[in-house]
Subunit: 340 residues, 2 copies
Amino acid sequence: MNIKIFINGFGCVGRALAKIIVEKRDVIEKKYGLRIEVVAIKDSRGAVFSSEGLDINDLLKLIEYPRSSIGLYEPYGRMDIGLDEIYDQCSPDIHVELTPSNYDGGEPGISNVLYALKRGANVVLANKAALVYKFREIMGIARKKGLVVKYKATVMGGTPFIDILLSLKTIHVSKIYGILNATTNYVLTYMHRHLVDLDEALGNAKSIGIAEKNPIYDIEGIDAAAKLVIMSNTLGIPLGINDVMRTSLRNVSLKDIVDALRKGEVIKYIAQIDFEEQLAEVAPRRIESNNMLAGIDGLMNAVVIEHEYGNIFFSGKGGGCRETASMVLEDILSASMRGV
Amino acid sequence: MNIKIFINGFGCVGRALAKIIVEKRDVIEKKYGLRIEVVAIKDSRGAVFSSEGLDINDLLKLIEYPRSSIGLYEPYGRMDIGLDEIYDQCSPDIHVELTPSNYDGGEPGISNVLYALKRGANVVLANKAALVYKFREIMGIARKKGLVVKYKATVMGGTPFIDILLSLKTIHVSKIYGILNATTNYVLTYMHRHLVDLDEALGNAKSIGIAEKNPIYDIEGIDAAAKLVIMSNTLGIPLGINDVMRTSLRNVSLKDIVDALRKGEVIKYIAQIDFEEQLAEVAPRRIESNNMLAGIDGLMNAVVIEHEYGNIFFSGKGGGCRETASMVLEDILSASMRGV
């Protein structure tokens, strides 16, 4: 069976996805009988598309193309092109939404996802903001139309963590807490190890590409809050991003770290939802060093789920382009094989 | 939508499942639009069935009925009844296989599951042995018939661990290792804490109902080996139970424990598959005390998955009747809502 996918957004995750598809397409076809065809890729300024599917050479060249310029690619590129034409020409089975998360309203992710559903495509997202603002609406429309929306890559992007929550449909979860943002965990780990202040640690993270130039979503807890919103809604419990209290990581000084270390503790940037107390927050917290979260360093993430039968502890890579893309690909497969 | 389920096997997990269904049926109907009807329950000597579904009073009384005697229950009980008549009368949508795992060939689980598929029922298992001996055959038949076979309860029974493996379809897993048997982990923890030998620890485990009277499947590593077989096959890599090398927990003396503790280590009963080396084994191993597995005590289980992008660590309750039943119920829901 051929699965026609449309990659909307072609930054680091999109390019990693294209690369993994090139590498693994034949194995996937052999193992699962699914042939993944990339029929369209769009960036912020243009798109390439071919209703037959782009071939391996096209994909390899596009991966190396400068940012926001794939519309110039010959012969399939077109600048200034809208979703209408892409859908009319290519009829994708799966819309992969990889535009950046925008926490000032959620666009263009929201409109793109709603458009895809309107046109009858299943949706796979790494973009968090669309779900943060419109989780229930998006899921409701998908359900009515018999489509699926998958989003494993949005939380602990390098792991299938969301699937654990999806398998707790009948189990009462009282609390979830953990380390959900890789950038700030890297920064905190660096502060503890090198005894430097936040700005120096952040400078290091920027220099090696772990932190963005303006990492406000990370440092102010917005990214972690967004993940809490997605996790809560996955469990069927509404939570808006403005319901999450946030304390900036900027509040952590080198002195705080030294004080904590002297007492055999560490400081972690903890995101938590307490469903009993109806409390959601992201804040720096002191953790005793024998707590399992204390050992989760660098780019690792970890979550504790307290439920009616005990605790689940889960840790894995928080993100990374290829890691995130690998979970997008898992969702593409699971959307294609639903019911299996 | 009504979902008619047939519970085949009515020991501690079956009874816990019936109880959870009584408690949560209305919530599940409200939240997911699924009405779970128990149309039949069978134990080793008889069965109760009603094509309309047993009501709450029936279920509550049956939960308290003596073992292997539900066939005497009035007016729905019947002794000495076969699957044919149950299927003819009740046409279950989902067959829930909870007979005990038998590692001397896998019966009656295998025949029961194959029968269910032949009759067009989806299958949910807590019975491991049927999958251990016939994983590929069972999955192949299900796929051909458009049915699903779910088995979350078979590995780390109180958690949705299997779903993690199912979401690693395109990711190369090189190694899986961990603590997969709750009984032996309890026994080992007891030996470390009280500095007693295996038989004394086992006596304690039996006295509080954690170990069976004859816990050979646990102590000889057969249960853990069975779980490795299911895990490997879930990843699409064939492995038979006889391919798993086993070293009995009986090899661990109190002296070994004391020696390990003196060196800041602990002994754990580790199950592992190394896919590169094509090696699967269950054996007592010394673990340094700063290893995350060293802190997994008592009835907890934990697994490390080494894959191409890093490690996933997962821990949770290994079993327990209600915990296992809760995962059976999750599978019933996911089989009912497939494609959603």
